[in-house]
């Protein structure tokens, strides 16, 4: 079963606006990762936030993590048409044991940035 659930399923904005996507999960995690997937391509890693971190930045990306609410958000500032893609959150289990160290993906948010 998939751990993360992204919200919204689809988001359409104008170039220059900010885009916020949310992810909720159910069990304890070691880290949470965000990936981007352009149409017909593989996934590209964007940012990883550890369970003991609350916020991380990378360029125009800002990720927050609230482990008490089991939720994360991805903010893309000053969006561009090239940001049009699907965005997935993925969680890595937080318990010991090899089978927990696998990445489980949500269903993704389809972001469309209109020029």
């Amino acid at each position: 079963s998939q751990q993360g659930e992204e919200d919204p399923q689809a988001l359409s904005i104008q170039e220059g606006e900010n885009a916020t996507m949310n992810c909720s999960y159910k069990t304890s995690i070691n880290n949470l990762q965000w990936y981007r997937q352009n149409s017909g391509r593989g996934l590209v890693h964007l940012i990883l936030i550890r369970s003991n971190e609350r916020e991380k930045h990378s360029g125009r990306l800002r990720v927050t993590l609230d482990t008490s609410k089991k939720s994360s958000s991805l903010l893309i500032t000053a969006s561009r048409a090239a940001d049009t893609a699907s965005y997935f959150c993925a969680t890595e289990g937080g318990n010991s044991g090899g089978s927990n160290y696998k990445l489980t993906f949500g269903k993704g948010t389809l972001l469309t940035v209109n020029p």
């Binding site: 990936y35 593989g42 996934l43 990883l48």
Partner: protein, 117 residues
């Protein structure tokens, strides 16, 4: 560094036929993954290797799917016989660290799009 290579990019087969996908991970990456991504959904893990050993294959339909990782480098995923519901993109990924709490991201190939008619 070169990325994860997958072939073929596209494959169309009839149901009950067999098909194989190939993956060459980033050089030196210990862990290799096969994911299945059905249209409109997120990737679902099929099997996870560390070097040439299987770490997790709990979601692999073993009656029809098989995978191997020869010498801990390249990997092949096979489906025999294929069903209509196997139509999906099959993604290979690798990561630099062995399985464990190393917080290392996955590097994905562009996938193989399989259509079963």
């Amino acid at each position: 560094e070169a990325g994860v290579a997958q072939s073929p990019r596209y494959k169309i087969i009839e149901k009950r036929q067999s098909v194989a996908f190939w993956c060459n991970p980033i050089s030196g990456h210990a862990t290799l993954y096969w994911y299945q991504q059905i249209l409109g959904q997120g990737p679902k893990l099929l099997i996870q290797f560390q070097n040439n050993g299987v770490v997790d294959d709990s979601q692999l339909p073993k009656d029809r799917f098989s995978a191997e990782r020869l010498k801990g480098v390249d990997s092949t995923l096979k489906i025999q016989p294929a069903k209509l519901e196997d139509s999906a993109v099959y993604l290979c990924a690798s990561s630099s660290h062995p399985v464990g709490p190393y917080n290392s991201p996955l590097h994905f190939g562009n996938g193989t799009r399989l259509t079963v008619t």
